[in-house]
Every structure is written in structure tokens, then in C-alpha cells.
Subunit: 439 residues, 2 copies
């Protein structure tokens, strides 16, 4: 059969991964597809740098020409950013090209319009590599678990953040210390905001929630809380209580709406997810029929990301000459069957909570605090009062940390408890509040 | 669009799972597929028992009539066994029906002919539920990781065996004790041979290896060793050394051929696979581009298995009216591109080895034993000599257990070492040999 031709936008880390895999595994891939797949052109900013790679690909600096090149079947985007990427992809679609992209921000924020344009034109937009790198999680959600009503999913979907939390837990280091090292090694960007403040994870959660629940992409609805405020002592107290702290993206389908949230989370140490360390990613998906399933692998990197992009290319190859109705719908559900849902706000979230207080070391404090929980109907699962720290001379009276684990409860009630506790004279600092998920 | 009609062979645990999921999630599934899917008929042995389920399905005892019923699009097989199942499925294919089956033994042993018949007729045979229950592992191997040359995979793919080993490890119980309990609770069959001797796992490994490596199904080539000889002391010694014992199916692509083997295996305790306990399943797949990935979930049960069968039904629905070339090939590779491979025999296997000896407690034994390893060029990673057991009065001189962990080596060399060691006068029992995989 006629070869399938790929035009690459970008030849950076990810673009090189795609080109390398398609070249190295060409024979095996053709045994799968029954037809060869060739990268014929790549559009780059720096021609000489790209030519120095000697990939045997025609190099151009004219991306607009590539996306309208009549000899190209599939445009594979690995440049990132929004401008001019979004207009290039719209142009590729207008020219009847199928699109494969690793651009999670673009899909999360502009995906609804992009996918609608592709639908109108009868071409595919594939984005497996946007979420959890090499893990085929979009395929699992869209196809592998298609029998299920997905009830919730929870994932470690940012490798940088997980590396930092893993180092803090394993070596007792501080957030700032590990971040500086991650930046030195190139794991973390010079501006780490996207990673450590959860924005990158929110992009990925947006996409997973859409294909899990059959709703349009709603990036603005994701509640996002980063890991930069996690203290070493919280990591230690969590471990004493049998938990690990992970930065999770959580999407939950409830009868009254959907929770979409990214935040640090205590997970029981025996859960597999609690044992996913370093830069690895993992996602737990809970379906009504299958129960819990978990998917683990490399969340980033040249070839892991390339692995997902090439898998998308192979999938497109299979049905590119078939009627579009034979393809899996872009967001798992038929476009006309996507339903917007009520997006729940933080006071309506339901979780258990880890609360760390610092109180004056005097009688009656615990009784006062527990009475506040009792009055609000919040159950307490565990309470630990630590010894005063003799080196702490910042207060005239010694203070002690108190750790409380609540039962599962509406977050609004916990916020009320926090306000009341912080108003007590015996409480010397703002409370630390971290959500707990038993998964 | 016209509804898709399903004929069920069997309404036992799995068949009921399929019917229940398709009924309960009918609306959501139609939002995915764009057309309704109905179970219209089921063929059973016991009509009154099936009718008592009140599923609203036409019940027949004439399976031959069902597989030739012109109103049925997809035959979903959940009766198991070989006779008359195999001929029923061939008959379904001859009548132009697509087939979904959970019958791992049938696919592993008779799959090549069945799939060839389906190819000739232009219909699909889907078998996701044959391996690891609800985990979409076949989809991951065939599609999600299609960019990769799969280098190896290793899985806990028998829930009964994993339940037994987990209980032995967590509670210090004996194999016989846990097996009896598992039988009492219905986790294990009255005849547990298929589960504990690894035959069930070998069926599943056969199927995974075929789609991973692009080779025909070769059940007879799988080396199979069960868990019935695992002693409580081996579980304990493994834990002391930082390992867990799991019953793994391992498939490895080497330059000189393929290893297909099912056997008890020591795994480092920090690996996720070492922490998969109870009846759960998990598979690690290592691709050349993506590196290691892991898939975890329920390996059996009515709805987990039904989840995979319904996902297969939905996949078939998407392309049932398209040309067969638009479907994913049954064994991941185009039929004409499947290559038989050299199937390596045990002396050529490569692994590390755990060896437990029992030796007379007298000077020089360790030196003699380690000299044998040195002479054969086998490196020793760890060696532990335990205290003599004072309660052991079975020998005139006290004996001590010696545990040796070798480096990675050809199994043939280890077998030579075992023969030489067992010939020593100071060795009082046959050696115990368990393979070690660091994964």
C-alpha cells in the first residue's frame, strides 16, 4: 500500500523522539500496519541545527507551507505553545490533514474548537501523548474501559512534582532544596510554576475528565493547588500516620456534578499509587464494572512521549481511508452526546482532611478543638499531639504541633472548623490543611 | 443507526456480567458508539435457571441455532471448555458473526486456526477478557504500545496463585493451609491444578507473547512451573533479603529467540509488581521506546471480565460495517507478517537464581560450595548461612540452611552447579531453586 507521510512541526526533544522511533522500528511498524510510515518533512526555527541531526528528512523553516503541503497525510505537532501553534493546527485541519499533538495546554484550553473543526472536516486529532507521556491512558479511558461508567480517577501526572515529593519523603529534604537540584539537572524548568503549582497537571486532568465523563474540555473549572507550601514536617507526620503525600489530579463523577481538582494529597502507604516515585507517572481509574485499575510508566521524555505520538499515528493510519464514523470519537463520546456538567466548587468537595495545628502547650486545648469538630458533625479518625520542640523559643509559652485526620466530609464544613480553630487564643499559627484520599 | 445485536453463549458468572453491564450502562454506551447494543438471545444448558434471572433476553438451549441466527451480529462466548465451544465458534464465524470470547485455553491452544478462519471470512475475533480480566492489557500491547519493539513482559496473571502467595507472605501461612481456605471461599477450584501449577497463566502468557512479539500462538512452547512446592521458609528468606515471591508469566524477546516461562519468581520488594497482592493482577511491559509500563486491576470476576468483553463488543461495533483492513489485526501484526521464532529451552534461559541448600554444620562447606560457583563462572550476589535449628533432630549432625543469590547467568550453568552441589556428602537435601527477576 501507499506509504503514509508525516510532517513534523518541531524537531526538539519530542520531535526527535518521533523521528527516531519511526526510523528505528520502521520494519516492525510496517508489520503492524501493512504500510510504511515515513517522516518526509520537518518545520523548524533553526535550519542548521536540524540539518546537523542528519535524520534524512527535508527541513524547512516555513511551517505554514508544511501544514498545506499536499504530499503530507498527518501533521505531528511537537513545538508547544499557543501562537502560532494553534493557527498552524487549524490550518492543517482546513487542508485535510490529520493531526497528532503533544500540546496539552492547547488541547485543554482550545481543544473544543479544534476538535469541532476536525470533525467538520472529517479528520482526526489525536493527543495520547498529552497525558502521562508514554502511558496509554487516553486509550484505556476511551476504549479499554468503554463498558464502564467511570466513577473517578486520580493520577500522579507531573513528573517534576513527583520527583520533588519523592525526594522530600525519602531523604527528608526541603521543597526548596530539591527544586533547586531538579532545576540544575534539567528536570524542572527555570520557571517551575507550571509544574509545582499544578497548572500542567490541571491541563492533563482536564483532558482525562472529558474522555472519562463525556463532557467538553473545561480547563477553567479545575481547582488547582501546588506543592510549594508542603513542609518537611508534613511529609514526616504523614509517614508516621501511614501515609505518603503525592500531588494528585482527581476527577470524580458525583450525582450532583463533577469535582476536578489538583492538590497535594495524603494516600495510604500500601496503595500502589503511594509507591510511584521519582519522575514516574501513574493513574488510577475506577469504573463501575471493572473496579480500580492502574496505569504506570514514564510521564515525559523524548521516546516515551514519542511512543504515544507514534501509536496515535498508527491508529490514524488504520482508519484514514475509512469513513470517520469508524473512528473512536475524539473525546470518547459522540460529539453530539457530550454533556456539560455542574462543576462543583471547593466547599462541596468531599474528602478526608489532614490538619496540622500549632497550639500553646497548656491543658484544655485538645478538648476545645475536638468540641469544634463535634459541633460541626465532623468525625475524627486520628489525633496526635507531639512533644514540644525544646529548640523552639519563638513563643513565650512552648507550643506543640497537633495532627488531626478527619473522616470523609464536605470541605465547607472543614473550612468552618478551620476558621473557628484559628480564632482560638491558644492557636499560634494558621492551620495546614491537606486532603486525604483513601482511593 | 440500527442496533447491534448480541447472542450470548452461556449465562454463568461471566455471561451475566456482560448482560448486566450492557443493560445498566446502555445509555452511556450508546453515547459512545452512536448506536444501541442489545443482548437479544442467550443459549444455556439450564433454561429454567436462566429464565429465573429475568434479564429480558430470549433463552434457548440450542446453541447451534444461536450461532446461525441471522438476526445476531456478534456472538459472545462465556461457556468455556473446548467441546462443543470450538465448533460453535467456528460455526459462528462461518455464519459471518463476529466473535468475542473469554476462553483463554481455546485461544491459546486453537487460536491460530480460529483467527485464520475469521480472517478468511472477514469477521473479528476479540479476546481482551482472556488475559488479566478487566485490565485492558491486550489493547495496550496491540495498540497503546504499537510504536515499540516489546523487549519483555512479566505479569501476575493468576489471581488464585497470587492470593495464596500473598497470604503466605503476609501471615506466614503454609501453601496447603491457604489453598484449603481459597477452596472453601470459592477463589480456587476443587481441582486447583490449572491455577497453582501455572497452566492458566501459561494460556494467558501465550496470548500476550503472540501480540507482543508478532508470532503465532505457541502454547506448547511455554515452560510451566507451579507454586505448590514453595515453602514458608523460602517466603521468609526472600523477605529477609528484600524480595517477594510472585508467580510470574515472563516473555522475553532475545536476539537468539524467545523465552516463554511461568514460574515462582523473587522480585525486589520496592517494585510495584512485588506489592500487587491478593487476587489482583498486574503486568509490566517493557518497550524499547517507552521503557517500563505497568497495568493493574481485577484479574477475574463477573463484571471485570464483562468489562473487557463489552469493550471488545464496542470496538467491533465501530468497524463492523467497514472493510476488515481498517481493524486492528487480531494478533497485533498483519497475519502474513507473523513470524515463528526460536523458542528457547530452559538451559538457555537467563535469570538470577535463589538457591537454598541444607548442609551439615561443619567447617569448609561454604568454601566448597562457593568454589563450585567460581569454577563455573557464576557470580554470587549474596550468601547467607542461617543458625542451625535446635529443634531439628532429623540428622545426626546439625544442619544449617544456606541461601545463595547468584548474578544473572544461563540456567544451564546453574543446573550444573546444582548437580555438583547435590553430589557433596555435606549436602543433606535436594536444593531449592527459584528464579530472580529484578525487572
Amino acid at each position: 500500500m501507499k506509504p503514509v507521510t508525516i510532517g513534523l512541526l518541531g524537531l526538539g526533544t519530542v520531535g526527535q523522539g518521533v523521528a527516531t522511533i519511526l526510523a528505528r522500528n520502521a520494519a516492525e511498524i510496517e508489520r503492524r500496519t501493512g504500510r510504511p510510515i515515513h517522516v518526509t518533512r520537518a518545520a523548524v526555527r533553526n535550519r542548521s541545527k536540524a540539518e546537523a541531526l542528519a535524520l534524512g528528512i527535508d527541513i524547512t523553516t516555513d511551517a505554514a507551507a508544511l501544514v498545506s503541503d499536499p504530499t503530507i497525510d498527518i501533521v505531528c505537532e511537537a513545538i508547544g505553545g499557543e501562537d502560532p501553534t494553534l493557527s498552524l493546527l487549524h490550518s492543517a485541519i482546513d487542508n485535510g490533514k490529520h493531526v497528532v499533538t503533544a500540546n496539552k495546554a492547547l488541547i485543554a484550553v482550545h481543544g473544543n474548537a479544534l476538535l469541532e473543526a476536525a470533525r467538520a472536516k472529517g479528520v482526526a486529532v489525536a493527543y495520547e501523548s498529552c497525558v502521562a507521556g508514554g502511558i496509554p491512558i487516553i486509550k484505556a479511558l476511551r476504549e479499554g474501559l468503554s463498558a464502564n461508567r467511570i466513577e473517578w480517577l486520580a493520577g500522579i501526572i507531573n513528573g517534576t512534582g513527583n520527583f520533588i515529593l519523592s525526594e522530600m519523603a525519602e531523604k527528608g529534604r526541603s521543597f526548596e532544596d530539591v527544586l533547586a537540584e531538579a532545576q540544575a539537572y534539567g528536570y524542572a524548568e527555570a520557571d517551575p510554576t507550571f509544574d509545582v503549582e499544578g497548572i500542567d497537571a490541571a491541563h492533563k486532568l482536564t483532558i482525562m475528565a472529558s474522555v472519562a465523563f463525556g463532557m467538553p474540555l473545561e480547563f477553567d473549572a479545575v481547582y488547582t493547588e501546588g506543592i510549594s507550601k508542603i513542609q518537611r514536617e508534613d511529609v514526616e507526620f504523614a509517614q508516621e500516620l501511614g501515609y505518603r503525600i503525592k500531588h494528585l489530579g482527581v476527577a470524580r463523577q458525583r450525582d450532583d456534578g463533577v469535582e476536578l481538582r489538583v492538590h497535594p494529597t495524603l494516600i495510604p502507604e500500601r496503595r500502589l499509587l503511594a509507591n510511584v516515585n521519582g519522575v514516574m507517572n501513574a493513574v488510577v481509574v475506577h469504573g463501575d464494572a471493572v473496579g480500580p485499575t492502574l496505569y504506570y510508566g514514564a510521564g515525559a521524555g523524548s521516546e516515551p512521549t514519542g511512543s504515544s505520538m507514534v501509536a496515535d499515528i498508527i491508529d490514524i493510519t488504520r482508519t484514514m481511508d475509512a469513513h470517520p464514523s469508524h473512528r473512536v470519537p475524539a473525546l470518547a463520546f459522540q460529539p453530539e452526546a457530550l454533556h456539560s456538567q455542574t462543576l462543583l466548587q471547593t466547599p462541596d468537595y468531599e474528602a478526608a482532611y489532614y490538619l496540622r495545628l500549632r497550639a500553646l502547650d497548656q491543658p484544655g486545648v485538645l478538648a476545645t478543638v475536638t468540641t469544634i469538630f463535634g459541633d460541626l458533625g465532623i468525625s475524627i479518625e486520628a489525633i496526635v499531639q507531639k512533644e514540644p520542640d525544646p529548640s523552639d523559643v519563638s513563643e513565650p509559652i512552648p507550643t506543640v504541633p497537633i495532627i488531626i485526620l478527619t473522616g470523609r466530609v464536605r470541605e465547607g464544613l472543614v473550612e468552618q472548623a478551620i476558621i473557628r480553630i484559628e480564632a482560638l487564643d491558644t492557636i499560634t499559627q494558621p492551620l495546614t490543611r491537606i486532603r486525604v484520599e483513601t482511593l
